[in-house]
């Protein structure tokens, strides 16, 4: 096992990792920017090293500073969390070169999943279902036209280096193709310095269902079931749940096998997530693989009993998962509580949290790094807490989430709590899985102001 783990992250995930390290008896090193000097991850880690100013580029994204911090503290492993350097193949490689274990997959696995076109080809070769489309990059309009003639419209043109909703265009019919194709290439070149695009059938009303996998260094890989993350705004997940209300046991098994194949195809190591689109007819298509722990991993922990951070660390330390058994029990929902104002288009609401009263009781879990008196720095993302509830069934979990949200008091800033409360009362959400377009096209948040007057 490792002697000391440096956590190359901040916020709730840094605290989350420290908690597991404490439970495993492994000393921790926090790194922090000057903006985070009063953060709980700094307070609760065994050691803490200031690595730079508030700007992420000069602190949490600065590989040399993080490695130097590991060197001066004699940390022999680095946990990257999510975001920042978590899916940076270069970081994984440099850690290896300095004999510091990167808790995550190899640089090669990160690279091959990081490029969408390469990933797609890899999946086809591994018999993982993909959305019909081009075999990799489409370089000219003529090729694009030929592919569309074959797979039919609507299609979507996507930048190889894109992601998170950036660098993609839907094309409804042949007349739009040339213009959209050219624009997408230009945008990709500007945004990602890589003009390469590929083309796929545009799946309508898709559901976002992802499989959590674990894979060890000995070629064992298992599925820990799925998470339904269809509730999104601007490609940002806002609520996740496990299991998915959409899946059947049979489909769960098929998707789990596909995800395991995807992981094995790149000799994956650690915890990873294979994201699929599922349409209303329950066809599923590989979307991408995230080669890191996900924000929404707790819902899987709640219904499987695993501690996924612990599993990441154990796998990185060379332990085998050959005898792991997975059993899913109950239903878990996570609401992301962001410092954003749902009244004003979710504009970020930085500032001081004057009152912070978290919910409690049976089946309620809160992962957060904030507290009464915490000043939210404007430099980082706006997620301030993950509220996770677990109950026997989905309807009970929704009721429990509503109760927990109602007793969650945050004053001094605006948060998405009122939005989530309305979502708990939404009939379509209560009925089952909605599509990834649902929040933007159908669900209407009623302004609290309007409610009050």
């Amino acid at each position: 096992m490792f002697n000391k783990i440096l956590i190359a992250n901040r916020g709730e995930i840094a605290l989350r990792i420290i908690r597991t390290c404490k439970e495993m008896g492994i000393p921790t090193v926090a790194v922090y920017s000057t903006a985070d000097k009063d953060s709980l991850h700094v307070k609760f880690a065994d050691e803490a090293v200031c690595i730079g100013p508030a700007s992420s580029r000069d602190s949490y994204l600065k590989i040399t500073s993080i490695l130097a911090a590991a060197e001066i503290t004699n940390a022999d492993a680095v946990h990257p969390g999510y975001g920042f350097l978590a899916e940076n193949a270069e970081f994984s490689r440099i850690c290896d070169e300095h004999n510091i274990k990167f808790i995550g997959p190899s640089p090669e696995a990160i690279s091959s999943m990081g490029d969408k076109a390469i990933a797609k080809v890899t999946m086809i070769n591994s018999k993982v279902p993909v959305v019909p489309g081009s075999d990799g990059v489409v370089s000219c309009y003529e090729d694009a036209k030929a592919i569309c003639d074959e797979i039919g419209f609507p299609v979507i043109v996507k930048a190889s280096s894109g992601g998170g909703g950036r660098g993609m265009r839907v094309v409804m019919d042949a007349s739009e193709l040339q213009k959209s194709f050219d624009m997408c290439r230009n945008e990709a070149k500007t945004a990602f310095n890589n003009p390469e695009v590929y083309i796929e059938t545009f799946v309508q009303n898709p559901h976002h269902v992802e499989i959590q996998i674990l894979a060890d260094q000995y070629g064992n890989a298992i599925s820990l079931g799925e998470r339904d993350c269809s509730l999104q705004r601007r490609h940002q997940k806002i609520l996740e749940e496990a299991p998915s209300p959409l899946l059947t046991p049979k489909l769960r098994k098929k998707m789990g096998e596909a995800a395991i194949n995807a992981a094995l195809s790149v000799k994956y190591e650690g915890a990873g997530t294979v994201e699929f689109l599922v349409d209303d007819e329950l066809n599923f298509y590989f979307m991408e693989m995230n080669t890191r722990i996900q924000v929404e991993h707790p819902v899987t922990e709640q219904i499987t009993g695993f501690d996924l951070i612990e599993e990441q660390i154990k796998i990185a330390a060379g332990m085998s998962i050959a005898d792991y058994l997975v059993k899913l029990t109950g239903h878990s929902i996570e609401c992301r509580i962001n410092a954003e104002d749902p009244e004003f288009n979710f504009q970020p609401s930085a500032g001081e949290i004057t009152v912070f009263h978290p919910p409690g009781g049976q089946g309620v879990r809160l992962d957060t790094h904030v507290y009464s008196g915490y000043l939210i720095p404007p430099n980082y993302d706006s997620m301030i807490a993950k509220l996770i509830v677990t109950a026997k069934t989905r309807p009970e979990a929704i009721i429990k989430m509503r109760r927990a949200l109602q007793e969650f008091i945050i004053e001094g800033i605006k948060t998405t709590i009122p939005y989530h409360i309305q979502l708990m009362d939404d009939p379509n959400f209560n009925q089952g899985s909605v599509s990834t377009k649902y929040l933007e096209t159908t669900f209407t948040y009623k302004s609290e102001e309007k409610l009050n007057f």
Partner: protein
């Protein structure tokens, strides 16, 4: 909605000394406020209890994002570490230290080395003056922003 009920509630409250009432049932909520009649009286601001914390949980007061290469106080200056790494006073174990206490230094003069990932980074003075103290022993780890030298400025 039962209007009679609402009227009853409102009458009740109007006749009372209450300033604000909120009632909530499974599917019914009523909230009634009456403004204080004493609003000419100067109003003491409610204590918003902003002092929840002593040491551990104090909110950051410093959100500076510029690199704190030095901190200044009158004519005295600190040179702080601009990067994380190991502090060395000399270029190699056999060399003389770049500076000693009492030395006069110029802006841009190398004061020490911070090693990070096998790279020796020369740290230069950002002012001229006399080194009054070396704050970190040779060979120790330093973090971003940590004071290394005190300089009494010209």
């Amino acid at each position: 909605m039962d209007l009679k009920l609402v009227k009853k509630i409102i009458d009740l409250i109007a006749a009372s000394d209450l300033n604000e009432v909120a009632i909530e049932e499974a599917d019914f909520k009523i909230k009634v406020k009456k403004l204080s009649e004493s609003s000419h009286i100067s109003y003491t601001q409610p204590v918003v209890a902003q002092v929840p914390h002593t040491a551990p949980l104090t909110a950051s007061e410093d959100l500076e994002s510029s690199a704190p290469v030095s901190t200044t106080s009158n004519s005295s200056n600190s040179i702080v570490a601009p990067i994380v790494g190991t502090f060395y006073q000399a270029a190699s174990p056999d060399s003389n230290p770049f500076v000693k206490v009492g030395d006069k230094v110029q802006t841009g003069q190398t004061l020490c080395i911070i090693e990070a990932m096998k790279i020796m980074n020369e740290i230069e003075s950002n002012c001229s003056g006399i080194i009054t103290e070396i704050l970190v022993p040779d060979g120790t780890p330093v973090e971003y922003g940590q004071p290394l030298f005190s300089i009494s400025k010209d």
